[in-house]
Symmetry: C2
Subunit: 364 residues, 2 copies
């Protein structure tokens, strides 16, 4: 049977290995596996959110309020924006999918950094669009602006802080790209890790309201990282109403589960958990920087909840990831991104101890 030709070039996405797979493949007890591969919140689920889920466990048969009235109200208050500037997705991922389907088609172009979030390319390929990448893995504004002038892309992705490298754009650089964009170019500012950037250095953070001033920009946020709801699939987009209306046409009804909606509403007012998450991260990330310095390899200055160790010629990231896996520690090898690097979620003190012990053993 024939399918649309855009599918020909698409490979099925393989996500990071879940703990269950390591248990099955290496026979390691589940409680012994340390997963620092998916940037999940090492503090776990907020106790307030877990209580909300338990209290709503017997509502699994009921469809959610598809207007998402309460969640939109909570987000609208949190960011001081109007409700008609909001769209909720099953993770900010789904909003990315809406963007791709609303703007891209064969012949359309998207521009992104050489090394950035994998789904930008996957969703663009599904639409048959042409993918353009800047030469550097960093988000260099001059490279973006030059390629925007030359190619007039339909969509530009600015992932800041960037996954999987961890670096972020300076505010002035981000605004320079936004100011230089053609009015028909949709510039997506993916702030999935913005909470960590803001806590580290406000010069590298933006507020959704600042993005909302541009008629051709979309801000993306998520509950998956600092709010600890990775498994619940809730993210959001913030943009001027014309953009939101177009994206809403592609939103399937009930795209958030009943429990996800309840969890996200609770998370919106759970500042205590957010502060704790950021504090744990601040306390632990220095150990990764120190470990890299002590072992004379580079790391990328991180504005996220993970750190990227960028090795020179002596170490091979794929071998290291495999050796860590055998010791029950799951990290993300960035070889497929063209980097000899490992992306490691900064965990709890005990999880990080396990990683450093495994590294010591491997490096001998």
């Amino acid at each position: 049977m024939k399918f649309n030709k855009e599918l020909d070039s698409i490979k099925v996405y393989e996500a990071g290995k879940p703990i269950e797979l390591v248990v099955r493949e290496f026979g390691i007890a589940p409680e012994e596996v340390v997963k620092l591969a998916s940037n999940e919140n090492p503090l776990g689920t907020s106790p307030r959110v877990a209580a909300t889920i338990r209290a709503n466990a017997d509502k699994a048969h009921l469809y959610p309020d598809d207007s998402m009235f309460e969640l939109k109200e909570a987000l609208s208050q949190r960011y001081d924006v109007l409700e008609e500037t909001l769209i909720i997705g099953a993770g900010s991922d789904q909003v990315l999918e809406f963007v791709s389907r609303a703007k891209l088609h064969p012949g359309a172009k998207v521009l992104m950094s050489r090394v950035t979030f994998a789904m930008y390319e996957i969703y663009a390929r599904q639409q048959g669009a042409t993918i353009l990448r800047t030469p550097d893995w960093r988000h260099r504004p001059e490279e973006f602006l030059a390629m925007m002038r030359e190619h007039r892309p339909d969509v530009v992705y600015l992932c800041t802080p960037n996954n999987p490298t961890g670096d972020a754009m300076r505010r002035e650089d981000l605004f320079a790209v936004l100011d230089g964009a053609d009015p028909e170019t949709l510039v997506v500012v993916d702030g999935a890790y913005m909470e960590y950037a803001r806590a580290k250095d406000p010069d590298y953070a933006v507020d959704p309201r600042e993005i909302l001033e541009y008629p051709n920009a979309l801000y993306l946020g998520t509950f998956s990282k600092a709010y600890g709801l990775g498994g619940m699939r809730v993210g959001y987009g913030i943009a001027q109403p014309g953009i939101i209306e177009a994206l809403l046409k592609l939103r399937p009804p009930f795209n958030i589960t009943t429990l996800s909606l309840a969890a996200a509403i609770t998370a919106c007012s759970d500042d205590e958990f957010l502060e704790k998450s950021l504090a744990l991260h601040r306390e632990q990330i220095g150990r990764y920087e120190a470990y890299a310095r002590a072992h004379r390899f580079d790391y990328i200055e991180s504005y996220t909840n993970f750190i990227t160790w960028n090795f020179g010629g002596d170490l091979n990231s794929t071998d290291l990831a495999e050796a860590l896996l055998e010791r029950g520690v799951i990290v993300r090898d960035l070889a497929s991104y063209g980097l000899n690097a490992l992306r490691i979620t900064v965990g709890t003190a005990a999880q990080n101890d396990r990683l450093f012990a495994a590294m010591d053993e491997i490096l001998g």
Copy 2:
């Protein structure tokens, strides 16, 4: 800003009114509202599923196992099919979206019954495809076969039992359509309510394995109805591996939440709840048939968990739906489908009592 032209003809989908909205609009206490509009399971959430959700409430920060190993294994055993014939969606809705995006494009054609599940058309419009409908609201095999010969559609939707009418195709009629389909036509057999048809009359039910024998057919099932997981968004498609591979290219990673995955795995072995759901339905639906007969209006013989009251000239479905709403009873008016009819979920004895009392009051 310009968007893809396919979006021009799309209106934003409005789901049925949630209880919260009726509470807000009519000032009725939430516990007084009876919702018989969304075909949610009136028995509620299975106690075993609710226990699973509570036990996993503190795993909301963890991404689900994206291979869905355990759920696929459970479904594979339940239906005696190979795992490579399975795809999991956020509701069977999401599998419908994959079908549309894999097969449809401007110039492509889809064929469906005059009155059937609204999302077939919405997803087809998103792809810019041409929508063809049979003249009758019933799924008449001769109409489908004639239109298939004339138009050679890329996708045919057979919703059996059909939503929102409740009728179903006889097995021999369904197989006649499948046998007459062009090898390049994908025939989707949407069995969202199949458990109810099987319990009522096996002549109107098919097994996924029977659909799997066709190289150009896809069976859809869901946990939203008989299994009581409407709010958790889990459905599945079953087809030969070539079709599944194409659809998997469009599946976003982590399309099911961590709690939805756990809930669905539990539901797969929860035969006790399934039997209870079917028994309650069998016990209550006769009351709706008797009420219609007593008040001299038609109903459509139902193979689903709802019944459709099909009025003659004397009663107006829109007025009735509004009058019921004012009394705190939410049902689905089918005026927008071109029928002077109400679709009513068969509820618990107490819920149905409320509906009949409100109807008595309205009819005077």
